[in-house]
């Protein structure tokens, strides 16, 4: 079974984030890392594609030929990667991103496509359904458990009330939550091996996508303004010296909660 895992490479969320003051796009000029949310899909993919001849293929769209995040996922054990990187993609909206990813994914002819439910930096959360629709595939979003049984994927899908058991024929797109598996840490051997694993770098033209559909030119939405939100003032800070509970109690009384 071939599993494609979409992995987004993002600015380190631990570093202070910034928006470009003119374009209001997220500044992605620094080094990028593997979006932690996608490490679950990588691990799930590796566990599902463990038979002889099975492969986990990574697909990513990122600026500047960035491969740092891909190398992390290759070090975990993925076989190879397809990276779409093209200056023309700067400013692409989520539908455009989905078109690019879908075109790259279809080259790998996967039995299963895994994504995260939402990315850490963009968190639009619509890309998994968009990819599925573009590929003409069924999809199951918000998986908290996945098992493949022949040509069927069985998913426990999160719901408001609990979870649903869902069955879906392959090929399919499944988006995974962080609860789905515990991602492994790359081993030293894995890190060394990752350096020589193939990364296919493609441009928009290689995918047969009309350049007018992507990039700032193709984007049909824009950010017009970014402003500081109203700040919520911090209040009183009390160091507990055995009186902490009392202080809370007094506050609850003041609010008439009790």
């Amino acid at each position: 079974m071939n599993v494609v895992v979409c992995v987004k490479q993002i600015p380190d969320p631990a570093a202070p984030s910034a928006l470009d003051p003119v374009t209001h796009n997220l500044d992605r000029s620094g080094k990028l890392i593997l979006d932690d949310s996608d490490s679950y899909g990588v691990e799930m993919g590796l566990q599902l594609a463990s038979g002889v001849g099975d492969e986990v293929i990574l697909v990513s769209m990122a600026p500047g030929g960035e491969t740092s995040g891909l190398r992390t996922a290759l070090a975990m054990g993925a076989a190879r990667a397809i990276l779409v990187s093209d200056d023309a993609l700067s400013g692409t909206d989520s539908l455009g991103t989905a078109k690019v990813l879908a075109a790259a994914i279809s080259r790998a002819e996967p039995d299963l496509v895994l994504t995260a439910t939402e990315s850490t930096d963009g968190y639009t959360g619509t890309i998994p359904a968009q990819i599925a629709e573009l590929l003409g595939l069924p999809s199951v979003t918000f998986a908290k458990k996945i098992a493949v049984d022949g040509s069927t994927v069985r998913v426990e899908r999160q719901t408001e009330a609990g979870f649903d058991e869902v069955e879906c024929p392959l090929p399919a797109v499944v988006s995974v939550t962080a609860g789905v598996v515990e991602p492994r840490y790359p081993s030293f051997k894995g890190i060394m091996a990752a350096k020589s694993k193939p990364v296919d770098v493609l441009a928009v033209a290689d995918l047969g996508i009309d350049g007018g559909q992507v990039g700032s030119a193709g984007a049909r939405q824009e950010v017009t303004d970014v402003a500081d939100a109203e700040v919520r003032e911090g209040g009183e800070i009390v160091v507990d010296e055995g009186n902490g509970a009392e202080r809370i109690l007094a506050f609850l009384e003041e609010l008439k909660v009790i």
Binding site: A229, G244, L255
Partner: protein
């Protein structure tokens, strides 16, 4: 009112349309001249009164989603909506709830109509043409808008607008059966599992008591549950302890969980990561207990107790019990 025709994807559960659906209908009334609800699941006739009361004059009823086994709504509902548009309907904007199925339908329809989607909306101008989004845990707000042709697809987060009835009569129900969606609609729900819950709902409770990794173990979450019960509130959680399997996902507060705006939010052993803050910062009053004086949660707390949850919470529980 710049828009003529606004559609709202109105999800309904056993207890009728979800509160988020009613919030969307309320907003739709202010941005559009006429409001149509799109619903499925077989309860349209039953829900016509309440959907009408909140502003819908018409309901497109897609019926139940097929036999055997129920289809996941994303693909069939999007197909039905696309068919209505192709059949000549002209919604200027469609509001989707930021729910599991709402996002699936929006994503699928976006491809079918070849229109982008704007998601994570927490505010919208009165003309319905520009939207607001929290950035960096809500410390900044971005304003966005579409630059191309409609229909504009908007995915809106819960609690962004207050639901208010307008006193309209029952909406007219129009059957619009979902056309055969083909292989894209092949995912089937085999069985449903409901996790038990007592007390008020997390996103409707007046008091929310949430626990995080600072509790140290799954067992200590009992402190949070007991405190919530004593305050007639709902227990909540950070994602860290949901991922760790201590509590069900339904309890998660934050960017990928629920948005809550209770009168009182009590955060116990929660650091206050931006993704958590964005889901609870709108609470009227916030109390935090954390042993780290520099924990970011204190920057939004009206009262912060620097202390150990294993000391403060049991003492608080005792005091409440003896009242």
């Amino acid at each position: 009112m710049a828009l003529d025709n606004v559609w709202v994807l109105a999800e309904a559960g056993q207890a009728g349309p979800t509160s988020l659906s009613l919030e969307l209908l309320t907003k739709a009334r202010t941005i559009g001249a006429s409001v149509t609800a799109v619903t499925w699941g077989g309860g349209a006739a039953e829900h016509a009164a309440v959907l009408g009361e909140y502003g819908a004059t018409k309901i497109y009823d897609l019926g139940d989603l097929g036999d055997p086994g129920e289809a996941l709504p994303g693909a069939p509902v999007a197909s039905a909506m696309a068919a209505l548009v192709e059949g000549g309907e002209r919604p200027d904007a469609i509001l989707f709830p930021a729910s599991y199925d709402g996002r699936d339908v929006a994503g699928r329809l976006s491809v079918k109509l070849d229109r982008p989607v704007i998601t994570n909306i927490v505010g919208m101008s009165d003309d319905g043409l520009s939207t607001q989004h929290p950035l960096f845990g809500g410390s900044q707000t971005a304003t966005a808008r579409f630059t191309g042709e409609g229909p504009f697809l908007y995915v809106v987060r819960a609690k962004s607008f207050a639901a208010e009835p307008a006193g309209g009569g029952p909406a007219e129900v129009v059957q619009a059966a979902a056309p055969e969606a083909g292989p894209t609609a092949a995912a089937r729900v085999v069985s449903r599992h409901v996790e038990e819950r007592s007390g008020p709902k997390l996103d409707e409770a007046g008091v929310v008591v949430s626990g995080g990794r600072g509790l140290g173990s799954a067992d200590s979450y009992e402190l949070v549950e007991e405190l919530a019960k004593l305050l007639n509130g709902a227990p909540g959680a950070s994602r860290a302890i949901v991922d760790a399997g201590w509590v069900p996902y339904a309890r998660q507060v934050g960017q990928t969980g629920k948005t809550v705006k209770p009168n009182l939010y009590l955060a116990c052993g929660i650091s206050g990561a931006t993704q958590h803050l964005v889901g609870m910062k709108g609470s009227k009053h916030i109390v935090a207990v954390n042993k780290d004086q520099d924990a970011p949660i204190f920057s939004v707390a009206d009262l912060g107790i620097v202390g150990d949850v294993h000391k403060v919470l049991p003492a608080l529980i005792e005091a409440l019990k003896s009242r």
